[in-house]
């Protein structure tokens, strides 16, 4: 029969106060095994205090081909940045 184990993405919080970050992926039969394997593969040296795993097929990713449409419009919106606004020099911090 031989069915292959699905692919999982692994996210690790390295310490409380920080966000989970993508660490890599691995294969496992189910979520529980994915967590156990993630612990052995990605946190052998205290790299984490919390692990998320999600089956890779559930991740929807943007396509770099659409990057222009998605991200370029932000480039000409300079008024979203503080430096766009003129204030008197006397005001040191604002």
């Amino acid at each position: 029969m031989s069915k292959n184990w699905p692919l999982w993405e692994v996210f690790v919080r390295s310490k409380n106060g920080l966000e989970h970050r993508h660490f890599g992926s691995l294969h496992a039969a189910d979520a529980e095994m994915a967590l156990e394997n993630a612990r052995d593969v990605y946190t052998r040296r205290n790299e984490g205090v919390s692990i998320w795993v999600v089956e890779s097929k559930y991740i929807t990713a943007s396509n770099p081909v659409d990057n222009g449409e998605l991200f370029e419009p932000a480039q000409d919106k300079v008024y979203r940045h503080p430096t766009f606004y003129d204030i008197p020099d006397e005001i040191k911090h604002m």
Binding site: S25, D30, N63, P64
Partner: protein
């Protein structure tokens, strides 16, 4: 896409790499880039996995608990390295099953160094010191390579390697300071592992076909010969310090070059081993394939169990 469009994409692609931008999995890439990376990353992953076998051979016979936990942790790291690299490789659109298939059928290569036998405990010292030492020199430049997932995997790998080399050197040092028999054992291991370690850097620059392309894609920063020289210069004083002799009558400090000159490498041996005629090629593949095949029922059982649990859960929800 027209040929012209592809040309433009390729020019832009090379320019991005030249600007030190990283390439990520979903980015457009030339087919040759994809294939070259699949080949190199998988070869690298296979080497980590097969590399566990010669050392695994000594875990049960480590001379003390301290040595045993260290060796066990090192071998486990190598499994981890293999897994980081397989997962980086899969982002290029090849499946884990295909990668294993290529290894098991002999279609894919792995580092030839692992086709030598580990006949004494001192070989654990020599491997950590020399083989991991050479691997570090090969791998450090890859932390900066152009393909993002490979570079990130290599950063993790490099962080873990230095313990491997130190534990090996410590084993050699302890044996070299031990009884005459122990010292002889250390020297014998150095004699057997020295030349194969120098071969780990690959053919001489004159013979190496991939260098120019690999340099451009940052799969390489220095040539094989430059890296080999770096290894010799770094290792000779380490051997001297513990009273061991490098098995090379031509080895000599070159004042002008501020480097060691060393004797000729037996490239016939190198190619023999690459082609599958090394002392352990067959053993290694046999061990690897039988581990895979004998583990099949465990993998199948895990899938069946996962499905059963899912079914149970969905019934519970009703």
């Amino acid at each position: 896409m027209s040929e012209n469009q592809i040309k433009n994409l390729e020019t832009e692609f090379e320019a991005r790499i030249a600007r030190d931008e990283k390439i990520e999995p979903k980015d457009w890439m030339p087919e040759k880039y994809r294939q070259t990376h699949i080949r190199q990353i998988s070869q690298h992953a296979h080497s980590e996995i097969v590399g566990m076998l010669p050392e695994g051979n000594w875990i049960t016979r480590a001379p003390s608990l301290r040595r045993k936990v260290a060796l066990l942790a090192k071998v486990q790291d190598e499994a981890g390295h293999g897994l980081y690299l397989y997962s980086a490789c899969e982002t290029l659109g090849i499946s884990r099953e295909e990668l294993y298939e290529q290894l098991h059928t002999g279609k894919a290569k792995y580092s030839s160094i692992f086709n030598y036998p580990t006949i004494t405990w001192a070989d654990m010292g020599a491997i950590g010191w020399l083989v991991d030492g050479a691997a570090i020199i090969n791998q450090v430049p890859l932390c900066n390579t152009s393909y993002g997932p490979y570079a990130r995997a290599m950063i993790r790998v490099c962080k873990e390697e230095s313990f491997h080399q130190r534990q090996g050197y410590e084993i050699m040092m302890t044996l070299a300071n031990g009884t005459p028999e122990q010292k002889e054992m250390a020297q014998d291991a150095l004699n057997r592992w020295w030349w194969p370690s120098l071969m780990m850097f690959g053919p001489t620059d004159a013979e190496s076909v991939h260098t120019a392309q690999s340099m451009k894609w940052k799969l390489k920063r220095k040539t094989n010969d430059e890296l080999r020289q770096q290894f010799v210069d770094q290792t000779v004083p380490q051997a001297e310090l513990i009273g061991l002799t490098i098995p090379d009558p031509d080895l000599k400090w070159n004042e002008e070059r501020q480097s060691y000159d060393f004797g000729p490498i037996d490239w016939d041996e190198f190619w023999q081993v690459v082609k599958g005629h090394g002392p352990m090629n067959k053993e290694r593949m046999k061990a690897r394939v039988s581990a895979w095949e004998n583990g099949a029922w465990v993998r199948d059982a895990a899938v069946a169990y996962a499905e059963k649990k899912k079914e149970y859960k969905s019934k519970e929800a009703v």
